[in-house]
């Protein structure tokens, strides 16, 4: 049978317009793909409601790029009537009463959500192995991770199950998995897209994000999802903007820089691929120069990010108490403390309990100055240094990860003793709220490598335009795994 969902949004849209395929057929194809999943990419399925919506769809107009096309949502998006667990036992059985704003907007555009995807528990992790359903595998090599926390979204899109999936990005949770699975992963400016209905990890760092198989598709999603939402007071009021035009015109500045200290710490294959991208960009007339960013500040990224995110998470996740949703506390509890403790003890994995404790301790009045607030001060110093860099350059271009995706059995889950900034620098864009995009840049022994571009706050169109330049250079468009190995 002819396949469609392994194509780009733009191509599938053309097939729908020409009548080559119908939305119902696409949903059926998605169902077959989901049934064949070997990566452990899926949480709840929503095929029935997708079929119903597909039937109800009217005529698809030429610019309704998302209409009639199946997609996936990470399991930390609230989806009305579809179980939402954020891959945590604490939320098992929770069926939300409302759609997240991005789900609502996609729905309004006629997009068809067919399933929810696995993730690191409550998005607190970067391996894609800590969710309640166990490890999610990289479709390019099942012994490796797909990256986290948006692991299921990355694995499924790379496997060609659907053309795109929603992820969320707090430290690099869309952009790192994108690098490991040969995808385009975008994290817009903080506040450009509503977080209403996104189950929080660390609100001051969290952004909605998405994984696609080309930059154009990413821009199409940005056009559909950006814009103020009165339900999220942190969203920005912006004039209507067409990000697709930015991509098609390669909008944005032409001055980019990279940090040599990061490049030096990458594998030879990554360095080689990166250098090819840089050369290609230069041939297009783009300036790409070395920039000496203080390595002490690069070293500061990990503790700064970790402390802030753990502190916010311990507070955000205090709502999970077994009373209103998710498995209740033990019926034998004699006190409310026992009730909550029994629910939370069973509900969370060891890793995130450790993170909660570190966050909670860092917030205690006697510690806050030297822990949480010190991280918040360091955040300012890092972001100010980054903004000084952005006075000279339009974009920061760096390998999204120093190596290919790690093997699942070689992972470490404890607090990094010597954090490698080449592995953590993507969090810069979260600390500063900047738009940031990962694009495929090559392969190392058949495993994908990604390059990242980060731009100034609200230059989302420029970052997407720059990403398109990179895609022009690499020619790596619409990568999917032919046969899952």
């Amino acid at each position: 049978m002819e396949r469609f969902l392994n194509r780009t949004i733009k191509e599938i849209h053309a097939a729908l317009i020409s009548g080559e395929v119908t939305p119902e057929q696409l949903v059926a194809e998605a169902g077959e793909q989901i049934a064949r999943d070997r990566c452990n990419a899926y949480e709840a399925k929503a095929l029935k409601s997708a079929r119903r919506k597909a039937r109800q769809l009217g005529e698809i107009k030429a610019s309704d790029y998302l209409a009639g096309i199946p997609y996936l949502a990470k399991d930390n998006y609230s989806t009305k009537g579809v179980e939402t667990t954020a891959s945590s036992r604490i939320l098992e059985g929770y069926v939300p009463l409302f759609d997240a704003e991005v789900i609502r907007r996609l729905s309004r555009h006629g997009a068809l959500m067919v399933a929810k995807t696995t993730m690191d528990e409550l998005a607190m992790g970067g391996t894609g192995t800590t969710g309640r359903l166990g490890a999610t595998h990289n479709p390019y090599d099942l012994s490796r991770i797909a990256g986290g926390s948006s692991c299921g979204s990355a694995a499924a899109v790379a496997a060609g199950d659907v053309p795109y999936a929603l992820g969320s990005d707090t430290g690099d949770s869309v952009r790192k998995p994108a690098a490991y699975t040969g995808l385009v992963g975008f994290k817009p400016t903080w506040g450009l897209v509503s977080r209403y209905g996104l189950l929080p990890f660390a609100c001051s760092l969290d952004t909605v994000g998405w994984l696609t198989r080309c930059v154009w598709d990413s821009a199409a999603l940005c056009r559909a999802l950006a814009g103020r939402d009165e339900k999220d007071m942190t969203t920005l009021q912006r004039p209507k903007h067409d990000y697709i035009i930015d991509v098609e015109t390669r909008a944005g500045g032409r001055r980019a820089c990279y940090f040599p200290a990061v490049i030096e710490r990458c594998s030879p294959a990554v360095q080689e691929a990166f250098n090819r991208v840089v050369e290609g960009l230069r041939k297009q007339g783009v300036t790409v120069e070395a920039y000496d960013f203080d390595t002490a500040l690069l070293d500061a990224i990990y503790p700064t990010y970790m402390v802030i995110s753990c502190c916010e998470a311990t507070s955000n996740d205090a709502m999970y108490d077994g009373m209103r949703y998710g498995p209740a506390g033990s019926p034998d509890s004699k006190t409310y403390q026992e009730f909550m403790t029994s629910a939370r003890t069973r509900g969370f994995c060891d890793l995130i309990k450790r993170r909660f404790i570190i966050g909670s301790y860092s917030l205690l009045a006697e510690n806050q100055h030297d822990m949480f607030q010190r991280a918040q001060r360091a955040r300012r110093v890092i972001v100010e240094a980054l903004n000084r860099m952005f006075e000279e350059y339009d974009y920061l271009v760096l390998p999204a990860a120093p190596t290919v995706a790690p093997k699942i059995d070689e992972l470490s889950y404890s607090w990094s003793k010597e954090p490698a900034f080449a592995d953590n620098h993507l969090a810069l864009a979260n600390l500063g709220g900047m738009p940031s995009l990962t694009v495929p840049m090559g392969f190392d022994n058949g495993l994908p490598l990604g390059v990242n571009v980060t731009g100034k706050v609200l230059d989302d169109g420029g970052v997407l335009g720059f990403g398109q330049r990179i895609e022009d250079v690499t020619g790596l468009v619409n990568l999917t795994v032919g046969e899952v190995r």
């Binding site: 930390n76 998006y77 609230s78 939402t84 954020a86 939320l91 929770y94 939300p96 009463l97 409302f98 997240a100 977080r195 209403y196 209905g197 996104l198 189950l199 929080p200 660390a202 609100c203 001051s204 009165e230 339900k231 999220d232 007071m233 942190t234 502190c311 916010e312 311990t314 507070s315 996740d317 205090a318 709502m319 108490d321 009373m323 209103r324 949703y325 409310y336 403390q337 909550m340 909670s360 917030l363 205690l364 009045a365 006697e366 806050q368 949480f372």
Partner: protein
């Protein structure tokens, strides 16, 4: 040894907005449990806070009434703790930047002495669930969760139980007069906690303070603080030491009882709320809130005193804002005598309302304020007497009959024409020569008899005081008894 008390008071006031502080769910009371909660109140994962504009306006108004500095930028913080009535696991409050700070309230005790209470801060926050404690379970009602609150905290500057009670009464009056809260302590829309410590007079150290929580009437505020001062004094006089505790007032025992020892203070792990950016309030917004403030109690007091009402009369009115509102509407009808109007409103009409079997209130009376003024004016001008006024009142309240019509129906018009009365007086005196003789011989009751005859002859319509004067003029001074 003599001791002096140091008292601080924290008051939580529920704001009477239409929707909640950070949630658009309705702000209601007396509704079926959990029928009014929204997604945000239930802390459904992924929901976000949305700050209520009206609550901010109320905050500015209260801060202004308490002579406070209004912070021009609003910041919110999280207060983190686990408790069944707190669904998010934190409360959104204003720890670092209260909307109002450094204010004061001037008050007068019943003996006429004045004192000032310094108010440290007033901040916006959200209420928790209402809990019901049964035999072995506690139930959570999320209707109250998220209701806007203002917490008002004084400096530890109050020195007597009477002052404390007066202060709480003052705050209650301000919030009800501003119309920002029901101020109902019995229903929990205003809740009061106090901190009490005592120290020997002349000592520059404060004693160990005890908190007395959940005082639900103003009488209890006064009683609880008085008890607590006495309790602490007894401990010190017996050579003991006061321990830091949280106590509550037991109305039946008439004493404060221990709730818990304060060993380790809870660390609330406060930090800035990352879902609410700072709000810069424009001068125009602040001025708009201030200029739309309703009249404050002390403004009414001054106005009523200027109208000639006594202190007592003013305070009787002030007890109930609805009475004041009604009185103000009556004033628009330009009453001839304000004291008479006061009497018919505060005494007569109130007692009708209290006695009425139907659900009569000042808001659903079957007549207009101007009608009550018309009645008061009839009395003030002696057009009817007080007995007749009762009948007119009855008609007015029970059937909405206008006073003029009522007077006509009952034939209550008095004859105040001196010529007409004089003619009757002449007739009566001429018809009773023996009575005039008795009068000349010092029989004092004759005057009353003759006036009564005049009123009878006029079918009760002659103005009694005029009749009396004219009879007296006719028969001359009373003679000596033989």
């Amino acid at each position: 040894m003599e001791y002096k008390a140091t008292i601080g008071i924290e008051i939580h006031v529920e704001l009477k907005t239409r929707s909640k502080m950070f949630s658009a769910a309705p702000n209601t009371y007396h509704e079926a449990p959990n029928s009014q909660a929204g997604l945000v109140d239930m802390s459904m994962p992924g929901t976000l806070p949305r700050l209520n504009m009206e609550a901010v306006r109320y905050g500015i108004q209260l801060a202004t009434a308490l002579n406070m500095q209004v912070d021009r930028t609003l910041y919110f913080d999280r207060k983190n703790y686990f408790y069944p009535d707190l669904p998010k696991g934190y409360q959104i409050t204003q720890q670092d930047h209260p909307i109002g700070s450094h204010g004061y309230l001037d008050l007068t005790l019943d003996d006429g002495s004045n004192f000032r209470v310094y108010v440290q801060r007033a901040h916006l926050e959200e209420d928790t669930c209402k809990q019901t404690h049964l035999a072995d379970v506690s139930l959570e009602d999320y209707n109250r969760c998220g209701v806007p609150l203002i917490e008002i905290v004084t400096e530890p500057c109050i020195s007597t139980a009477q002052q404390a009670a007066k202060y709480v009464e003052g705050i209650r009056e301000i919030v009800t007069y501003l119309g920002i809260s029901d101020g109902r302590m019995d229903e929990g829309s205003m809740r009061c906690d106090t901190n009490v410590s005592i120290a020997p007079v002349g000592s520059d150290h404060l004693g160990t303070k005890c908190e007395v929580k959940n005082l639900n009437t103003i009488q209890n505020v006064e009683a609880a603080i008085a008890c607590e001062i006495a309790r602490q004094q007894a401990i010190l006089e017996a050579g003991g030491t006061v321990e830091q505790e949280t106590r509550r007032y037991d109305e039946k025992l008439k004493q404060t009882v221990l709730m818990r020892k304060k060993t380790n203070a809870v660390d609330y792990k406060y930090f800035r709320e990352p879902n609410l950016p700072p709000f810069d309030l424009s001068e125009r917004f602040i001025q708009g809130a201030v200029s739309s403030m309703r009249k404050l109690p002390w403004v009414y007091r001054a106005e009523f005193a200027k109208l000639g009402l006594s202190n007592y009369e003013v305070e009787q009115l002030m007890k109930d804002k609805r009475l004041v509102d009604y009185f103000e509407r009556c004033l628009q009808a330009d009453p001839k005598d304000v004291k008479t109007l006061w009497s018919y409103l505060v005494v007569d009409l109130q007692s009708y309302i209290n006695k009425s079997l139907s659900q009569l209130t000042l808001d659903n009376l079957p007549f207009a304020p101007a009608d009550l003024v018309a009645l008061a004016d009839l009395v003030a001008t002696h057009a009817i007497n007080s007995k007749q006024a009762k009948t007119v009142m009855e008609d007015l309240v029970s059937r909405g009959v206008k006073p003029a019509q009522s007077v006509a129906e009952h034939g209550f018009e008095q004859i105040s024409d001196s010529g007409a009365i004089q003619a009757i007086v002449d007739e009566v005196v001429a018809a009773h020569p023996e009575a005039v003789e008795d009068w000349k011989h010092g029989k004092d009751r004759i005057l009353g008899f003759l006036v009564g005859q005049v009123l009878k002859a006029s079918h009760g319509k002659a103005n009694p005081s005029m009749a009396r004067e004219m009879v007296l003029a006719k028969i001359g001074p009373m003679g000596q008894r033989p």
